[in-house]
Every structure is written in C-alpha cells, then in structure tokens.
Amino acid sequence: MFRDVTLGQYYPADSFVHRMDARVKLVLSTFYLISIFYVQSFVGFGLVTLFLLTTIAFSRVPLRSVLRSIKGIAVLIIFMCILNIFFFDGGELLVDWWIIKIYLNGILSALRLMLRLVLLVLGTSLLTLTTTPVDLTHGIESLCTPLKWIKFPVHELALIMSLALSFIPTLIGETDRIIKAQKARCASFDTGGLIARAKAFVPILIPLLVSSFRRADELALAMNSRCYEGATHRTQMRLMKLSIRDAIGTLVVILFFTAVFLTRSDSIIAQHLPLWIKF
C-alpha cells in the first residue's frame, strides 16, 4: 500500500550524479527549477527535457524509477490542465459549443503548466533519488550556515529534518503493520460513505500517533544519555569536499541555463529566430 512512495527514496548506485557534492546538487537543482518557470517556448521546454534526460542517463537511475514519482501528482496535473483549458481565453477560438469555449491559448497554457509540473517533480525526485537524506540535510545545513549570524538555529533545524527523514521508513513499516493488524480484525477501509471511511482510519491513526510519541521520547532519552547538547562544539563525521565532478556539473548547468535564456521570446537572439519558436 505504501511501497510506492518515491519522493525521498534514495536509489543506491555509483554514478557521476550520485558522487557530486550535495551542496552543489542543491544549488544546481535550484537553477533548474528557476529555468522551468523561466522558459516560455516549447523549444525551451524541449531543452529542459533534454537536459533532464541527460542527467537521468548520467545518474544510472532507471527511467522507470524516476517516472514513478509522477503518479502521486497525476490527479493534480489533470485537474489543473482542465481548469486551464476551460477557463483561459484569448487567441483563436477553437471550440464553441453550448457554454464551453476553448481557446488556443488555453490549450497552450495547459500544456505549459503540465510540462512545468512534470519537469518539476521529475527533477526534484532525481535529486532525492541520487542523494541520501543524510547528505541532503548536511548540504542544506552547510548552505544555511550564514543564517547562524542572525541567530537562526540552523543546526537544530537540520537535525529535526534528518530525524524526520530517517523515521519515514520506520513509520511506513509501522503503518503497514497496524493496517494489517486491524484488517485481521475485519476492518475495512473501502466501504461505506465518506464519513464511514474517514472513521475507518481512526484505528490506524491513533496507534501510529501513540507509537510516534513513544519513539520520540525514547530517542530524546537516548540522545540525552549520550550528552547531546546542540550545535556547540560539534564536528561533522563526513566532511564534504568539492571535486572536479562538481565543476563539470556546474559548467554543464551554466551552458544549459544560457541556452534556455536564449530561447526566451524577449531575448535578443530570439528576435532573429523563426516565429514558431515563440510558442
């Protein structure tokens, strides 16, 4: 039931992308996200897609594993597309039937939105597929270090995050077990009306909540008994080091970003390109 949660699931492999520094990957991913919302034309989207596919190829993560992450937001994507198609006007009127009016711009904007969402989810899940949660948290912590100057509890927040991440598999296992135990007592989660179904989750949620608190308590005790006292005087076990790999990765992203920039219809180069590129 809960086995296909790809977001945040590390795919173990030894590849160029896996071995890049988590901090660099985080920064480059941010640039990637910016580029997704920056592109307008479909040529630009083609470029982004090409870049993503190349990165996936270099990460040695099977395409299927990356694509699995779309499943979770498929409904959202479809819903947003429908909204865009029916409630966007401008451009050529394509369909005019009863109260339904579909314009060319509606379809184009629906397509863009769909591409953006898909690329967004694929890109971010590629980041989590190739970076262990621990590395990711370390990366975020390291990138946020400047915030310490304004007394922002960076280390504590990073700790909370890494603990939350590391408990996800445990909690999934626990949920699975509780569901099975209640099913063994003939609980059913897919019959009755909306309220009956919502009520059916009480026998799962309460034991889960209770055990989460129990685990949190035990963990706090274990940390206390080992003299944990926050960020002061703590060193890292794994030191992050930049390598030539990160330089190459950054260079590729800069090239890609420049190319994307050039496809924008308002850039100087694009004015000399044929009209169809502007869609």
């Binding site: 135990a181 099913k183 063994a184 209770v210």
Partner: protein
Amino acid sequence: MSIVVNNLCFTYNPRTEFSVNALIDVNVTINDGEIVGIVGHTGSGKSTFVQHLNGLIKLQSGSIIVNNIDLSAKKIDYNALRSTVGMVFQYPEYQLFADSVGKDIAFGPKNLKLPQDLIDKRVNDSIDMVGLDRSVMDKSPFDLSGGERRRVALAGVLAMQPSILILDEPTAGLDPQGKGEILSLVKQLNKQLGTTIIMVSHDMNEIYENTNRVLLFGEGRIIDDCSTELLFAKGEQIDKLGLQLPTMASIKNKLASRGIYLTGRRVEEVFNSILDLYSRNSRGADNV
C-alpha cells in the same frame, strides 16, 4: 477442515530492481487441532507465509485452501476468512486504539456486524479467557501495564472466535511470568476449544516446550517439516542454520550420544525422566 498449501510462491516488488523472492514452492498441510511452530531466520519467509493464511497478502501463485475457503478464488469472503483465522501480530499491544478496553475488544465482532448482545457476550467471554478482570472493561488501554495490554490485544483477536490462531512472537518483550501466562492460555485454547495454533517464534525453548510439530523455514522454503522432538534431535541441522538448540534438547542430545535416553520436553518432564532413570538404576544396583 484444515489448511492446505500447494506450490506457494511469493515475490516482493515483482518486476522492479528491488524484487525479492520471499517464498519459493511452499507445500504444507496443517490439520485441525495441531500446535505447529514456525522457526527460521529473519527474512526466511515465516511472516510472509503466515500472512498469506488469512489473506493479508494476496496470493501470487500456488494455492491455499483454509477450511474450504479457496484463497485463489477471484472473490474471497474476507470476513469469513479472517474470523476463521485469527492473527496476533508481534507486539499486538501497539495496535490498541479505542478509548476503553471493552470497545477495543468489540472492534472485531462489530466489523462482523454481529448483534449487540452477541458482541457483549463475546467481549465478556474473551476477557475471561485471557484471565483479566471484567472491571478493566471501562479503563483506557493506555492505563494498563504492558502484560495486561498484550492480553487485551489477544482478547480482541479471540473475540472473533477463530478456529485457527496464528501468533507472531507472542511472548516477545514479556517477563518470564507474562510469557508463561500467554503460553498456557494458548495451550488451553487448543485443549478446550480445539483451536489450531500456529506459532512463529525465535525462542527455541518456547517452540520446543509448546509445539508438537515444527516447520523450519530457510530462504523462502520449508527446509524441514517434522515433529518437534525429531527436529531438535538432529542438532547439526539447527546448528548449521545458526539457530539455537533448546536447552533441554541439547542436554538430551548430549546424553543420548552417551547412550542415556531421556524423555519429555519441558524442564519438569526431563527432570522427572532423569529421576526415573536414576531410581531405576539404583534399584538395579541393589538387586545386584
């Protein structure tokens, strides 16, 4: 009326890079009223196997027939199946949820849509069966001790009146007294109601003393299926799998290699058999 399993195979995450063969060609028949132990290493397929028996895991290939319910059929009456096969998971006390003990125990019968008076009767009966006082009925399960909570969880399964009871590590984390109580309750169920007991455990002493037959699992297969006495008499096989020999079995095996044969599996029984042998020997010496 029994459990018949034929050619059962199961793969986790089939057709993905994480696929694992959890069960490979498992064949076994368990008759009514048996007490069967299931032993094997972590990841040997024990849990996957028992979860098949009440339909918690859908059949992939092979066939299972439980008390005339065919689990390979397209439409299975899960309520009938799950009230026939009761399942007590590891640490069952963590699955309690209701605000009172009575309500929690009534959860199963209520899901079976039984009339209220029958539900009340079953709740009372199972409270009595697990040896708790009826006054706990209105308490919150979270106010009870660990041992008591486990018995409440057990009562919640017994309220379904299963004719087959599967227990996964029923005594894990209990003190010796609590262990004894749970085990004697299980034996009593078997004796008085004829309930078939299937017990998964890592504690070989527990298996040795309380079961009559053992299924030994290893890497998804049943490696051995024989009487408890016979399985542990072959010490090398257990050793080779890295499992521990029950204390009484290892004493008996060692003495047997010197030509002294003891009987019984519980400590008292073996002790009596030693006494018996000793008094017979000394009587024999007197005669000479």
